[in-house]
């Protein structure tokens, strides 16, 4: 028990992040709990708008102000609650112990500073390096992330780089201070397929080299299958299922997860089309129902489902699901892949 406890590098407990918009309170992330183990890759999947990015941004407290606010929860890292850190401590943490890579490498780098300048900045801020030391280290980083002609490229501006190369620069910046956690929010969505694979390989390789943990957010279940150890499936701001990759793929216990899996097989068959897992739309995050958030789209809803929202329950060891009929799905009592 104590061993597994110690193994946790990050623990998110009952995190809720809301946006106070003119239309009402958007519950982008509502009562989300999960943990991240040392050395593991945790995948977060779910449809667009389900709160994946907001979850990630909440960890580093990068929620856009003043609309967004983390209203509840704890984020425990190295024995401290990140939500209680002061500005200075927060700055020391960001880009140092925990760093982040974003979806769109075309817009994530500042267009008016050279790539080298931006990489050096990470080193100077946290390690207080002198300029020439930072330059040496920065060059090493660019080499490490596989930028060809990195010496010359160091003084280039972002617009002189391709998308894949920019994402490599983002990675170089993110790993500059050997963080314990790297959060990657759809790091390859904006890239070509071949480049995608290269970037993911690079991240995986660096994870082993630096002995860090990764949280990877993605739409792509193939990426999850290949790189993640555990997966959290999110729906409408809540985690609906959380378990190992094998469980998620072979013993899914939530009808939404099952729907996602089916859409993958369908995609394989047709080799085209957009990811449209399940009939219907997710509920508005502004007024979520009191009962199960997935009920409206669920074919298997029963009387019990009209009651309270089903809490995340451990139906077998390390397999959490928020569905009253989760066990039935898991054990195949309800046919998983029927129509």
């Amino acid at each position: 028990m104590t061993e597994t406890e110690n193994n946790k590098i990050l623990e998110v407990k009952n995190l809720s992040t809301y946006f106070y918009t003119d239309d009402g309170v958007v519950k982008a992330v509502d009562d989300v709990s999960f943990d991240l183990k040392k050395g593991e890759t945790l995948g977060i999947v779910g449809e667009t708008g389900c709160g994946k990015s907001v979850t990630a941004l909440s960890i580093l407290r990068l929620i856009p102000q003043p609309l967004g606010r983390i209203v509840a929860g704890e984020i425990i890292f190295e024995g401290r609650d990140l939500l209680k850190l002061g500005q200075k401590d927060l700055q020391n943490l960001r880009g140092n112990k925990i760093s982040m890579i974003f979806q769109d490498p075309m817009t994530s780098l500042n267009p008016v500073y050279t790539v080298g300048n931006q990489v050096m900045e990470s080193l100077i801020v946290h390690r207080k390096l002198k300029k020439d030391e930072a330059r040496r280290e920065g060059l090493k980083l660019l080499e490490m992330v596989g930028i060809p002609e990195f010496k010359r490229r160091f003084n280039n501006y972002p617009h002189e780089f391709s998308g894949g190369m920019r994402q490599r620069v983002m990675i170089a910046m993110a790993i500059a201070n050997s963080p314990s956690i790297l959060i990657a929010d759809e790091p390859t969505t904006a890239l070509d397929v071949t480049v995608q694979a290269q970037i993911l390989e690079l991240m995986d390789e660096l994870k082993y080299k630096t002995n860090s943990s990764i949280i990877i957010i993605t739409h792509d279940l193939g990426v999850v299958a290949k790189y993640a150890n555990r997966v959290m499936v999110m729906y409408a701001g809540k985690p609906v299922e959380f378990s190992s990759v094998d469980n998620i793929f072979y013993k899914p216990a939530h009808p939404y997860t099952i729907g996602l899996m089916k859409s993958v097989t369908r995609l394989d068959e047709e080799k085209r089309g957009k990811l449209k897992p399940i009939e219907g739309l997710p509920p508005s995050l502004i007024d979520l129902p009191k009962f199960c958030i997935f009920r409206a789209r669920c074919k298997y809803a029963c009387d019990e489902c009209k009651g309270e929202y089903p809490p995340l329950k451990e139906i077998e060891k390390d397999h959490f699901v928020s569905c009253y009929r989760g066990k039935e799905f898991m054990e195949g009592i309800i046919e998983r892949f029927d129509n």
Partner: protein, 314 residues
Amino acid sequence: MFYFILRRILQIIPVIIGVTLILFTLMYIIPEDPAKLILEKGATPEALQNLRVKMGIDKPVYVQYWRYIKQLAKGDLGTSYRYRRSVNSILADHYPNSIKLALAAIIIEVIIGIFAGIVSAVKKFSFWDILVTISTTIAVCVPVYWLGMMLQVAFGLKLGWLPMSGMGDGSLRYYILPAITLASVSTAFVARMTRSTMLEVLSNDYITTAYAKGLSNNMVIGKHALKNALIPVVTLIGVDLGSLMGGAILTETVFNWPGVGRTIYLAILQRDAPVVIGGTIILVIIFVAMNLIVDIVYALLDPRIRYEKKEIQI
């Protein structure tokens, strides 16, 4: 870059031809005889005619124009009807004063305008933001000469803190009121533009990246946001530099500032065509030069522009 600058300088030539043509026509239409302006009231018709021949204004207008252009090509702006002095030397006397006033106005515009814009963007909807919004609205709406006169009355006449007009010994005190007047509208524009570009820039992904790296608020705003936000502001300031020179006509007149603006104003009253035309040509040249400087600064700020220009040259 060199070709770019050269091309821009050559572009001035057609602009000057156009400007002189318009002014020449206008001044020609005015039914006033320059010879009468120069000679005493009781001058004989023969004396007047002699003078006209000597000045060349007995010739048809196109001949006069051609002569003027030939002169201009040599850098000679002609002779003032009123003062019988070369326009070059009259303008040379007054230009430094105008430029000094314009510089003072630009300093106000840049420092106050950009600072107010940043504060109101970063502290959106705060007291400061509202204050900036209200005062910029007032500054834009109020006529320049009215503002000038109000300042004169308030700080010169009533409070007696600052001189009301003229340049005096050229000390800083004399600059304050006219520079504020001259800068008022532009400062308001700069503040508003800085605010809006700053807000736009702050919503960019690279700002989130900068925060995610662990940079302080000051670093993110002062380094990452500001340089991007200033790119459009620099353009505005540049375009504005030229109009500052033009706006100086009103301000200089109100404050009795011995600059080119006032000289042109007086020359118009006195129908002193060579001074009006010469002064305007200098305004145009300065306008184009300022724009050129701005484009160069712009390219220095924004590497993407620099890159495109490089490509065009090849």
